[in-house]
Symmetry: C2
């Protein structure tokens, strides 16, 4: 089903005439065309294969989950990388490689059948560690168990984050190949074995393939996006993040205790690095006014553009009262008494200066009388377009120097993630939306997520539009009893439907008429 341009125009004309597809105000007319594709016999044939391969597909997920791959323990990473390589060979990738880095290796694979479009796919293949005694089912056994409110889940470390969904996507690809001999798109896979470490070397995985990756048409993430109620939040980008640790130490300062804590009575005659850190922090941020005091910190921020404003309008009107889900039970009031809509706006467009951790001296029960020789803080700043990590970091350093705090030790944790942004009009986004539409799911579409991810390496680093989409559900990532839903609760898609939707997304995108980047990034 490789439609030509003429056939497409015929279909999209029908879409423009239709009303239902435009209901969210965000679907382009071409979505009508996607609907035709998704209802096509070609796609239905793949769906049938997935349905009858269910037992085999579940077993393949379990097999991957039984292979440990804990980056922080350096346990099973190489074996898991080899498994990924085997998976990519099994679908006839024309290139596969273990990619060495200064840390644990990544994996590269290129599926190329000369299709008109090429999709970039990211996979992480490491997991968090675990504390087995806290699990109700052993984290490496990947048992199928009942777990309220779901009829059946597979329980294992990596079940949802991300080894389960990765293997489901490969299952979906194998079903397509079984049905039609080839995929409707070319795919470039780049895989990270250190995601749980903050992907410190992932740029070294991308770098050798950057020229090829730049020629891809879009970057796609196909994880399972439904929460337990079946709802989906979709962000068309993310904020950047600068993460700093700042330490005041008597030895660098030349004042206060120099080597170790001293008896607290000495506060009468010695300066305190703890009070000094507090003094420095108060020059950075005024909490009462919610104002970052670093000169120039807001200068690079561009105002929300027309599309972003339109997206916020749709979001806050269609999801009024439902924008913030379960997190509301941990919140009594938003800052400055903001309404839900105002909070959504500030969450999307504001930069931040947050304290993640703060410590000095004795923090145990009861009392200890010491004047500590050092104090430290971890802060993170979320960055919005067009704030850049290096620039904002420099502003903070210059400010601390100007205020006389040049002796503070300021270290950046990781390279940070730059902000990322893709237009809702991008075909890869529209393809995802079309699939949600097919399954009757209206997602919350936020101009960007308030959080951060390495997506910017693909969007801003390689120039690809990016979208994240998928139905189905799993949970307890990073915690005990991590799970992936096999049979749902009537609200979330089950395992089979989630794989089928992955097929849909590939087909919707493969056949979406596009000139890459024409709709603006």
């Amino acid at each position: 089903m490789h439609l030509n341009r003429k056939e497409f125009l015929s279909l999209s004309g029908r879409a423009a005439a239709g009303a239902a597809l435009g209901a969210w105000g965000l679907l382009l007319p071409e979505a009508a065309f996607a609907k035709e594709v998704l209802d096509s016999p070609e796609v239905r044939k793949v769906h049938e294969i997935i349905m009858r391969s269910k037992a085999d597909h579940i077993r393949k997920v379990q097999d991957d989950l039984k292979q440990p791959s804990v980056s922080s323990w350096n346990m099973g990473i190489l074996e898991m990388a080899e498994r990924m390589l085997a998976h990519f060979k099994a679908i006839d990738c024309k290139e596969t490689a273990i990619v060495k880095t200064d840390g644990l290796p990544g994996v590269w694979a290129w599926y190329d059948v000369g299709a008109p479009k090429t999709v970039s796919i990211y996979m992480m293949y490491d997991t968090q560690p675990w504390d087995e005694k806290r699990w109700s089912s052993p984290p490496l056994e990947a048992r199928l168990v009942k777990m309220d409110p779901f009829q059946q889940v597979v329980m294992a470390r990596g079940a949802i984050n991300d080894k389960g969904p990765n293997r489901m996507f490969l299952n979906a690809l194998e079903a397509i190949i079984e049905a039609h001999g080839r995929l409707p798109v070319n795919i470039m896979f780049t895989c990270d074995g250190e995601e749980e470490q903050g992907s410190p070397h992932f740029h070294q995985v991308l770098e050798p393939y950057a020229d090829r990756l730049r020629r891809a048409n879009a970057h796609l993430s196909t994880g399972l996006q439904q929460d337990p109620e079946g709802n989906i939040q979709m962000g068309l980008g993310g904020k950047g993040i600068l993460y700093l640790e700042i330490e005041a130490h008597g030895a660098r300062w030349g004042r206060g205790p120099q080597k170790r804590p001293i008896h607290s009575s000495r506060k009468a005659i010695l300066d305190s690095p703890v009070w000094r850190l507090i003094e420095a922090l108060k020059t950075l941020y005024d909490p009462a006014a919610d104002k970052i005091l670093v000169p120039g910190y807001y200068d690079a921020i561009r105002p929300p553009n027309a599309e972003e404003k339109e997206l916020m309008g749709v979001l806050t009107s269609r999801f009024k009262g439902r924008l913030f889900g379960s997190e509301r039970e941990n919140v009594k009031a938003w800052m400055n008494g903001w309404s839900e809509a105002e909070a959504a706006w500030h969450l999307t467009f504001d930069t931040t200066l947050n304290i993640d951790g703060l410590w000095s001296g004795y923090t145990g029960p009861g009392s200890a009388t010491i004047l500590p020789e050092k104090a430290a803080v971890k802060i993170d700043s979320r960055l919005v377009p067009d704030q850049e990590i290096a620039v904002q970091k420099r502003l903070i350093l210059d400010h601390l120097n100007a205020k006389g705090f040049g002796d503070l030790d300021v270290r950046q944790h990781g390279g940070g993630d730059e902000w990322s942004q893709t237009s809702v009009k991008q075909p890869v986004v529209q393809a995802v939306l079309s699939v949600y539409k097919k399954y009757g799911i209206e997602p919350q579409i936020w101009p960007r997520r308030a959080g951060s991810s390495p997506e910017g390496q693909y969007t801003r680093g390689l120039g690809l539009p990016a979208a994240r989409g998928g139905i189905g559900h799993g949970g307890r990532a990073h915690s005990d009893d991590e799970y992936l839903v096999i049979e749902g609760n009537g609200k979330v898609a089950d395992f089979v439907k989630a794989e089928q939707a992955m097929v849909d997304t590939l087909y919707a995108y493969a056949h979406w008429p596009e000139t890459r980047g024409a709709a603006g990034a």
Copy 2:
């Protein structure tokens, strides 16, 4: 050797005529009389008994050290209390009692032979716990070992803090009784089984005996005061201490995360209890100016009196360049560039506001992105005459309320110790100084220690003058390989001499002519 007033006047006349004893500028003429007493056959006889009882005395120290008494583990406390009771019965105390409290019990004992003077003695009989694998000799075996630079020490938990010195004092008392059938003073013993917990219930030990304790003439501590070089620092009192823990919590504030940390991206729309705590702290103290900003915080402070100024003059001239010993290696410069003498002055007379500990959120390695729901700080304030704990605490609370921080949780740790002060002219102080003089040791005499102790319960609570004195050495209190010196290094007194000096102190005080309190407290 109970001299009458006439005999004393004769002796003290001789002292006034002598020059040597006045060398420090702080010994009263009566010290000449003490010298006679300390050279007397009566005292020499006791010294001889101590010398020939050495092996037995060491064994008795070892026996007490082999009995564990760890208050934090509630291990052996009752057994140790019973041992103390047996010790007091062995010297024919007329009253002995285990004193129940809301916590672990104390011990009371009253030795009364109708002597003209009564001394109050405090003993703690609990110890810190231990980590046995870190010890070079098992902490409960109390072995005699070589430990550089000392020829022989007894190594055990409690060796110096305070079970070793306690038993040495009892050894000294037994030697006196063996020599002369009775002690030259009456003694009221009050013993604490929770000192290492901050003596939370010790007031309940004192309370039933307060009326009797008030009739004592002085409170005396006879621990081993020499540092490894043989030097002694003597403080004629101590500062008070107010210890507070202040917590900011979203739930009490009604802003920020309410129950648990939230994703750090939420800083864009949520207030931070961490920033709030910092905001509150900066209203308490200005580190650049070293100024406590709580209104009225300095109001109760009385200026140094004539005696205190004189003591500081003697101290800073006679110990120029030697006031701060080994702690100097942890200090590069005093606050405000103060000289040693200036630092000594401020250390003695200034109140403080110190941060002992500070914590919030994620404090481990690497990064975690959270907005914590709470933050806390431990602060201590050293109080000088006439600052009272309750008053200073109220000032801080009122200030925080006035500044809008009424939701902060402010808890006091322990009741705190009030400041304590005894005049250098008090006979019990002079008696201690006379003994130091006898052994050729000139102590650093500070008007008060910068630290705090429960001594105020005896001085201000019960109206007793107090002194702390003794020669000999032990170390590593609270650490592994705690020790008590048996045979020294040529600089510190050995075990026998330390016990002999305890005898001296009792005799010097017993025969010191006094009208209690006449010299002012």
